[in-house]
Every structure is written in C-alpha cells, then in structure tokens.
C-alpha cells in the first residue's frame, strides 16, 4: 500500500505521461541481487481464473520446495506473480513486464492457446523461456517455448483407440467448443477415424461457443445420433465452463456411460470438483496424470501439496503435473548449464529427464515437447478417476500432426545443426523464419 | 375572417382531398381529425381553419385535446382519421414528420418552456435562426452579418439583450418563455403554435407577453395560442375557440364564447 501511495504522490507532482513512465520503469530495481526470479503468468481473475489459479499456486509451491532444498545454483528462487486477467493482449503486456522489467529467468504460464499465441512474439523478441503446461492442439514448436502438456497424439488418439478396442465404438460424436484446440483435435481425429475405416456418416461434428449453457438440443441430437444401432461415443473437447451444464444435461436426459460414453480431454479433477458426479459415473477422460495414480511419488506429492495449501481436499490434476515436470526440468537444466542465461538453458533442456508423478520418467525431446504416458480414467462417484488403461510405454509428442494436410511433412528439432521448429522433410528446408 | 361551418362529427361521405384543396384559402385546415390512445378519444372529429395572418386563442378544460391538436399539426402524432392541410390546402401535414413541418414554417412553443439549457441565450437564437439545417454543411457554417443583425432585432423584441451570454438553463421561468418565443421568431414561421405561454408568469410579465404576441401577429405571422388565463386571452383580443372532449365546442369572440351555456358548464363553471 505504501508503495502505491508514493506512486500517487509522485504522479501528482509531475506531468502525467512522464510520471507514469517513470513509475512503471522505476518499480522493480530493488533487492534482486541474490535471487533468481521466476515469472508466473496465469490469470487470477476473469473467465480463466477458474483453471489457472491452481497453476499459480503450484508454481509458488514448487518454488517454496526448491528453496527449502537449497534453491538453484546457490541462490534462492523468487516468484513474481502477475495477473493477466484472462485478457489476451494483457498476457503479452505482462510477459513483457516480467521479462524486461522484472528480469525473470523463466516464465511458467498461459493456459489457452490464444494466450500462448499472444505472448509468443514477446518471448522470441526478448529471448526468454516459457513453460506451457496444458494439453493443446500442437502445430507449433518454438525455440523459446517448452510444451509440457500433451500434443493431440498424447491424449486424443489413445483415447479413441481405447474406445474402439474396449467399448467397440463405431459411431462418433466429436463435440467441442469453437476454438482452435477442438477444431484441430477434431480434424486430426476425423482423419484418424477415417483411416481406421469409420464412415463419414458415422461421424458427427458439433461446435458450440464458449460458456455455452443450454445443451438441450445438442444432447438430444447426440441421443438421436446414438440410437441408430451402432455403439456410439462422444469425444468431448468442450472447454471448461461449458462442461458443467453439458454433463448436467446428459444426466437430465438419462444418458449413461454404459449407453453413450463421453471421453473428455478438458475435464479433470479440478473441474469435477464442481459437478455432482453421480450421474457421470463411468464417463471417461484421457490425461497423462490422474490424482488417483497409485504410486509413492504421487502420494508424496499430494501429501505435500495438501499440506502447503492447508486443505486436505485440494485436488491435483494433469496441468499441475505438467507444471511440476516443467519446473523440475528447468531446475535441472539450469544446474546443468550452470547459469540461468536463456540460450544456455534452452540448449541444456533438451534431453533432460525428470521423474513424472505417474511412476515413470519424462524426457524433454528435441521438439521441445516431453514424453508422456497416456492414462484413461473413468469418473468415479467421489470425483476422482478410476484408471482403466495406461499405455505401456511413453509416447513422444507429434507436434506436427501427420493427419493434417499442412503439417504432415514438418518436423521440429532444436538441436544443431537443424535448429528448426518447422523443418520440411520434403523440401529439406526450414519452412519458417529460421532459414 | 371566414367562418366555416363546423362539420358534424358523423361525416358520412368524406370529400376527396383534391376537392378540399380548392375549397380553402386557409393557412391551416383541419377536417374531422380523430386521435385515439388505447380507446381514449383525445381528438374527436376536430375541424377548424386558421387564416393567413390570423391570431386565434384556444381554451378548454384539461384533457380537451389542446396539446394533442398541436401534436397532430406539428407531426408528432399521426391522426387515426381526418385531414390536416397547410398553405391553402397544398400540403398534407399528416404525411410529414416534425422536421419537415417545422421547415415548412410551423413553429411550436411547448407547454413547459423548452430551451437549450446548456447553450447561451445567444446560441439558442443562433440555432433557431432560419438558415442552413443540414448536418454536414453546418460543420463549416459561419454566421453572416445579416444573421447577427436579425438576432439583435429579436433580442430587442424579446427584451433579453443583457442576458445574451447567460446559459439558457440559468434564465428565470418567464425569461425562458420569452426566449422560446424568440426562438420561434428566429425560425420565421408562417404559423406559431404557442402552448400556455404565460403559465407561471407575474401579471406584468403576462401583459408583456400579450403585447409581444400581438406584435408578432402584427408582423404577419399567424398565431394559435392555447391558454387558460382568461385575462391574458382578453388582452390578446382575438377570436376564441373552446375545445371539449376533442372537438370544438364553441367559437367566436371571447364574450360570445364565455356566454355559451355549454362552455360555462364544462369549462368556466357557474
């Protein structure tokens, strides 16, 4: 408060614009000598606060743990939290503030694709590092970004495989919110399903706007589509807020998982905490981590997390695990490079392997994505997932999907000599700005 | 002054508008005008005419339809039935909107004085002054010397010269009434409709207003004044028309009208 007060006084004294500039510029000089700053760029207000706030807490938790373990390179870590308020241009502005003004060594942040797209130019321009912890549509590989969430092949395709193998599904509803992740994922799935012999008329694709709340017509359509005599499943890429009314309507219209199972890619423990899960019993989700993973590493993490949040009901979820993996990878890379300098850390990160929370190890690959196991879970009455399938090995991310026309010839490899995020194997050229 | 027989409300076969055109020399011609609001007949087959250069006073109890009559003439309300013609029957007012009617030369003063409160008195007159009305040319409009002279004249007429730089909203009630009349003058209309110009005025102001209106009328403007103040109406000394339940109850000199049994019964009281 005091700080704000001085600002106000200073402002009153001078011409407005100049004072604002000085106030903005002068804020962050103090006391940064012995710490390494870690930026946290997650929305704490607005529509995305619902998902992102937990990730802010996760980073703060990891920073505390790391400091308790002696910090990094002998220095303490210091988290710098900003609130981009679910406002995409503000993400870019805050990213710039973190890097240019606060001089953070790394940023953990973003959830939506658009927020990531918004900050990308900033990270490239100022050459810093972003860890992005959410499953996303792929079709991207940037030098300054490390993707610890799943690419479509690490989530969507195994889920569909599971339904085909275990539930004999022949007819598919691809329902999503109308934005880039569902659009791309569904394009990939459509191509994949067709490659598996599913006919055009057995695929129904439906898009709804953000926050769609009246699902009566669409659920009725799904019901109708599912009564044609073939086993039907819904693949849901419906985004956050719209899920609750969607599942409530499913329950209302009496669609059970044994009739038409719904497999979701955006519904985790955090989202289920807001839903009465009794009618949802048996509906599925595909992730790379569930809180119910029964291994000691996970039990240990959950215990510490709940102690940190002083809430023994606080759940964990997949993007949290991705944040944890990213954080540990960064720490390890900094120690390997012996510096927090971005170029050195970016080079050091490739090949870094850290334990994940499902009992295995995840490695940072040259395409800046990590290897992951894929888990399929059925919703239980207590809002947790019963893991019904786990891929035997780890899956490497296909950042450029072979099922999409535009990207089937592209690969990413950030090691020398290729050092390219969109290398075209047909033309033998780096397709984008890297030539 | 021409006396036109008041048609019976039950007009079985209405003559075609073309015929009316030839019938009338009147500046304003209303025939069998009816206006209904949710079943309530505000005007009931109202008919009358106003000649060029005439001043007419309209009296009548509340709800007699005086304001609605003005609304119909100025295009604010469309009549359900009936004809309203202007300029010797050449112009059908029911087909026009407020702006077009104002441009034709009908000015109106509202019951509650309505001036532009956040403009100076001078600007109020400038805005009202006859001249360019289109939006885009007015961005670059410059005031001519003739216009300045005309405004100074009006200031003399409405006796507000020393208040010219005050905001309209800062004037007293009476001053606002005069300003509004001045604005009407600035528009230079053929016909002025004046609704209760002396409501809330002192006796001296009332007398001054009557003089003002006579002066305006003497300069060739037709005037229709709606007023309750009988002293004022007497001061005007013009033909009087009494409305009741949306039609003309009586018409003539003030004395004739005041002597009418029905008028006494419904309006003046015994």
């Amino acid at each position: 408060m005091l700080n704000m007060f001085t600002h106000a006084r200073r402002m009153a004294g001078r011409a407005l614009v100049g004072a604002a500039a000085l106030a903005l510029a002068g804020g962050g000089v103090a006391s940064a000598q012995e710490t390494i700053k870690v930026g946290v760029l997650h929305s704490l207000s607005g529509t995305m606060a619902i998902s992102e706030t937990t990730l802010k807490d996760t980073v703060l938790f990891m920073v505390q743990e790391q400091n308790a373990a002696g910090g990094v390179l002998g220095k303490k870590l210091e988290a710098v939290v900003v609130d981009p308020a679910s406002n995409w241009p503000l993400f870019a502005e805050k990213a710039r503030e973190l890097i240019a003004k606060e001089k953070v060594a790394v940023v953990f942040g973003c959830w939506t694709s658009v927020s990531r797209k918004s900050v990308l130019p900033v990270f490239k321009e100022l050459n810093s590092i972003l860890f992005y912890p959410v499953q996303y549509e792929g079709e991207e590989s940037e030098r300054n970004v490390f993707y610890t969430g799943a690419a479509p092949n690490q989530q969507a395709i195994p889920a569909v495989d599971y339904l085909m193998a275990n539930e004999d599904v022949e007819r598919w509803v691809l329902a999503g919110t109308d934005y880039v992740y569902p659009r791309t994922t569904n394009k990939i799935l459509e191509a994949y399903l067709k490659s598996k012999g599913v006919k055009e008329e057995d695929i129904m694709i439906n898009y709804t706007p953000f926050g769609h709340s009246d699902w009566q017509t669409i659920v009725a359509d799904i019901k109708k589509f599912g009564s044609a005599g073939k086993k039907t499943a819904v693949v849901s890429t419906i985004n956050g807020d719209a899920n609750v009314p969607f599942y409530k309507e499913l329950g209302n219209q009496g669609i059970k998982a044994t009739d038409i199972p719904v497999v979701a890619f955006s519904v985790g423990e955090e989202e289920l905490a807001g839903i009465d899960t009794k009618p949802l019993l048996g509906h599925l989700a595909a992730w790379n981590y569930f809180q119910s993973v029964d291994v000691p590493e996970n039990a240990d993490f959950i215990k510490k997390w709940q102690a940190y949040t002083k809430n023994d009901k606080r759940v964990t979820n997949d993007p949290m695990e991705a944040t944890v993996i990213g954080f540990n990878m960064w720490v390890k890379a900094v120690e390997k490079a012996g510096t927090t300098d971005a170029d050195a850390v970016i080079d050091a990160l490739i090949g870094i392997t850290v334990p994940n929370l499902s009992g295995g190890f995840s490695a940072m690959m040259p395409n800046h994505h990590i290897t992951k196991p894929v888990l399929i879970g059925e919703i239980k009455e207590d809002g947790q997932f019963d893991i019904v399938e786990q891929t035997p090995g780890l899956i490497v991310a296909e950042e450029w999907s072979p099922y999409l026309e535009g990207s089937k010839d592209l690969i990413a490899d950030w090691r020398k000599p290729l050092n390219c995020g969109n290398f075209n194997v047909k033309t033998g050229k780096c397709g984008g700005a890297g030539q | 002054m021409t006396d036109i027989a008041i048609p019976e409300p039950t007009t079985a076969a209405e003559p075609a508008p073309a015929a009316k055109k030839e019938l009338t020399e009147a500046l304003l011609y209303l025939d069998a005008v009816t206006v209904t609001f949710d079943g309530f007949r505000a005007l009931n087959a109202l008919s009358f005419t106003v000649d060029p250069g005439e001043m007419r006073a309209v009296i009548g109890p509340n709800g007699a339809g005086k304001t609605t009559m003005m609304d119909v003439i100025t295009g604010k309300t469309r009549p359900d039935r009936g004809d309203v013609f202007f300029n010797g029957g050449t112009t059908d007012l029911t087909k026009l909107d407020e702006t077009q009617i104002a441009t034709l030369g009908i000015g109106r003063k509202f019951q509650k004085p309505t001036v532009f409160e956040n403009h100076t008195v001078l600007d109020n007159l400038r805005l009202a002054l006859k001249g360019q009305r289109r939006a885009l040319p007015n961005i670059f409009h410059r005031e001519s010397a003739a216009a300045r002279e005309r405004i100074d004249e009006i200031f003399e007429t409405i006796r507000l010269t020393e208040h010219r730089d005050r905001l309209g909203g800062a004037l007293s009630h009476g001053q606002k009434q005069w300003l509004e009349i001045g604005m009407l003058l600035a528009q230079d209309p053929k016909l002025l409709l004046v609704d209760e110009p002396v409501a809330g005025m002192t006796d001296a102001e009332t007398a001054q207003t009557a003089e003002l209106l006579r002066e305006i009328n003497a300069n060739g403007h037709s005037v229709v004044v709606v007023e309750h103040d009988m002293t004022f109406v007497r001061d005007l000394g013009v033909r009087v028309m009494c409305l009741h339940e949306g039609s003309v109850l009586a018409e003539g000199t003030l004395d004739q009208v005041s002597a009418n049994e029905r008028v006494i019964e419904v309006y003046l009281g015994r």
């Binding site: 207000s45 607005g46 529509t47 606060a49 619902i50 706030t53 937990t54 275990n166 539930e167 109308d178 709804t208 706007p209 926050g211 769609h212 709340s213 009246d214 009566q216 017509t217 009725a220 019901k223 599912g226 009564s227 005599g229 807020d241 609750v244 009314p245 409530k248 309507e249 329950g251 209302n252 219209q253 009496g254 669609i255 059970k256 998982a257 044994t258 009739d259 199972p261 955090e270 989202e271 905490a273 807001g274 839903i275 009465d276 009794k278 048996g282 059925e378 019963d386 019904v388 | 609001f37 949710d38 505000a42 304001t67 609605t68 609304d71 604010k76 309300t77 509202f110 509650k112 309505t114």
Partner: protein
Amino acid sequence: MTSSARLFRLARVLCSALALLLAAALVQRAEAQDISAALSQLTTNKYDDTEAALGALALSGSPAAAGIVSALADGKLVFGGLPPRVFIEGPGGALLDPLTMQPAADAPAVKPVRVNNRVRRAIEAANGALSLVSPDAGKRREAALAVGRSRDEAALPALEMALAKESDPKVKSAMNLARASILIAKEGITPAERIAAVELVGAEGNQDALAILRSVPESAAPEVKQAAAVAIEGIERNLAMWGMAQNVWYGLSLGSVLLLAAIGLAITFGVMGVINMAHGEMVMLGAYTTFVVQEVIRTSYPGLFDASLLIAIPLAFLFTGLIGVLIERTVIRFLYGRALETLLATWGISLILQQAIRTIFGPTNREVGAPSWMSGSFEIGHLSITSGRLWIIVFALLVFFALLATLRLTRIGLEMRAVTQNRRMAASMGIRTNWVDAMTFGLGSGIAGIAGVALSQIDNVSPNLGQSYIIDSFLVVVFGGVGNLWGTLVGAMTLGVANKLLEPYAGAVLGKIALLVIVILFIQKRPRGLFALKGRSIET
C-alpha cells in the same frame, strides 16, 4: 427414464445370455453349478475376468448369484487376503461370506472389485438374463423390448419360445414387436410375413422403428419395399411434428431460464430505472447460497438433501435481498435521477462481488447437486421431458406470478408503484420513499437470488456465473418493454422459443447471432419494446 440406447446395449449382451439360458433350460438345469471358480475369477483385478465371472454367475443358477451381482453393482464386493477371496461388505463395513452371507472368520485388508463400463454392462446383462425368468412382468417386457432393438436373429428361437409361454398381453405385444423387428431383415421369409412385420413395426412410429424399417433388405419383394417406404414416410412426417413440439418445449425451457435471470432485473431496472450491472452477481450470490446450504446439509443433515433447494430459496431471497438493500442504502440512493451513473457504480459493485466470492470460495466451480425429484425424464407421446427443466419452468412461472401479486395486491407493492410513478406525490402522501426504494431494490435483488437457486441446477456455480446472464437479461427486459412485467414474461418466452427453433437450422452460434439481429431490428420497429406503454405525449 429408459433410454433406448441403453436398452439396446443391454439387449445385445442379453441375447447371447438368452441363448445360453435356453440351452441350460433344455438340459432341465442339471444342478446348481459350483460358483467358486467364478468367485476366484473376481479376485484377479482384471476387467476381462470380472466380465467372464459375471457371465458364469448369471448362468449358474446359484441362489447367491443375484446377491453377488448386486453387491458388485453397488461397489460392495471386495476382495483380499491370501489366497485372495471375495467378500461382500455388509453394513458397518463387516465382511460377509458371499455364499452364506455370514460374517467371515477373518478380516484381511480388502479392496473393492473394480468396475468399468464394460463390467457395468455385463452386470446389467446378468441382471437382465436373471430377470427374464423373473416373475415381474415389467422386467420381462423390458427384456423383450431390448431384444427387439438388437434385431439379433440368434435370439429368435428363444424369443418365440418365450412368446409361446407368455400370458401377459403387454409383454406379449412387446415380444411380438421384437419378433417383427427381427423378421423384417431376416432372409428367407415370405413377403406376406414381412409385410405383416413392417406394419407392426410401423405402428410404433418412433425413431427406433425408423431404423428397423430401413433395414428391409435390397432383395425383398417390391411390395414389401413399397410398404416399408410408406411406413417410413408416415413416421417421418409424424416425427417432424413431434420434433417441432420438442423444440418448442426446449424453447420454453430456455425461456424460463431467461425469465428467471431477467425477472429481478425487471424490478431494479424496469421499475426503478437503475441500470443494474450487478444483477448477475445477485443471481450468483443466490447460487452460492444454495451451495452453502447443501454443504451444511451434506455434512450435518444428509437426510434433508432432497429438501435442500426448498430450504435455499428463502435463505437466498433474504441474503441477496439484504445485500441489495445494503447496496441501495450505501450507493444507489445517491444516484436516483442519474440512471447512466448507476451503470458505472453497479459495474464497480459487480467487480467487487465477483472478486469477493473468488476470494472466499476460490475461483473454481462449486458442486451443487440435484435432489432426486429433479432428476430423470419422462415421455409424453414422442416428447421427452426432463424433470429438472419442467420444475424450472414451473418455478419461473411461480416466481413471476408471486411477484406480480406482490406488486398488484400488497401494500408495499402499491407503495412501490406509487413511488416509481410520482416520487414527490408519494412522499407528500406520507409514503416513506427511502424505505420503499430500499425495499424495491431488495425485492429485485432477492428475486435474482431465488433465480440463482434454480440456475445452480443447470449451470456452473462459479464467480463468473452472473456475467453469463447479464446481457441476455437486459435484452429480455428491453425487448419486452422496460417497466412491464408481462413484457418480460412474453419477451423471455419469445426469445427462448425463437432461439430453439432457429438452432436446428442455423446451429447454436448462428442461431444466437440471428436472434440478436432480429431483436435489434425489432427495436427499430418498436423503439420501446414489445409492451410499450402508449399514451398521450408527455412533452419534454
């Protein structure tokens, strides 16, 4: 309740079970098989084994089978010990022997036998197979319907055998229908038989019948195909009409949600003229009140859960009404006559309330459950009605008429109307206008709170809840005509139905856009909304 899809699913498993059962019946059910093999299969913790064990149990004829299957369905079947054995978890967590239902001698550490969708279906099938021999006619009928939907030729002999024995006419007609459904696509039957089947199925007239009729094989006689085509056309015409009715129902349901969201605003904005941007947050507070009530009930009085909404309604009304009064007294009352400034102040208040809730309850969704009487659905003709939606419509109308009555019939209602029509006159007649203002705003807010209770049943209970309703609410009030409660009712229902009638053609997004454009154009036609007050011009 019964979803056709679920029945179909059940039927496929059932048919194979049925065939086996038939075989078993033919050998006169030798003796109750030993089920110990099946029981040990349940301890392997593998879904395949569990499924197989269920099949064995269904056919075993063991008297313990039904109990074991239902324990599995309830998650009460556990296993543990060395070698692993199966127990049924009794009341109070006691372990019972599944065969004898006596308490087990020892109590090893146990885990529940895991269940997934496949196992759940196997449970249903096992229950179904057991239910065909069940004395309950309803269950037999359900099984027959399921066979019909599966159209599995293998089930035909079993079905015909059951048909011969059946005496209940309802069950019999269901079995006849099932038989016809199978015969339609069967090879090698006479055209006359096939036509009879087509007619029988065609008489059903629903979506399923349509699918069955389409399965008439290409090789069928022309007159059969002709009969099928006629039947299909008839059903389609019929269903199109029902589909229209269904859309109207959806529309009314959406309309009732809009009505609930807007009705409080019709008071604070429509009657009082406050451009109340915090209205949505009042709805949100009502929803959170419901959450708190349910939390208390869950932890302390679980038996009251079904009454939780009824308890929440008055509490939400009082709480949000109180907040409304507080806002009115501290902010709004200084802003009367400056309507546009109320927009700014209430916008600020809405930000504060959102953040307050976010700080107290966290940013994530909170769980509000549905009481049992609001779950499920039923059918009228081919119209599917969900109970929750039906109750929300009823509730919205109740709230609407209660409010109307309050304004029309009560003293405070009279005073409210007096104050909003002529404040000075009302004051001079001894009405405490300050108090009436506060009460009016409180009433509007309280009603928004009640709406929140209902909306918690269909939407997220999150700090953003209010934001998603505020635009629609204003649109409804303005469309209906500011200051007219009936306008709000008609406006909400019109917009709801129009939206749902547009949706099938234009899709959810384009439909909504089209609706917004229609409202914009409509306001051009009637600049004061649907129910504008017409009258003598009141001059400026």
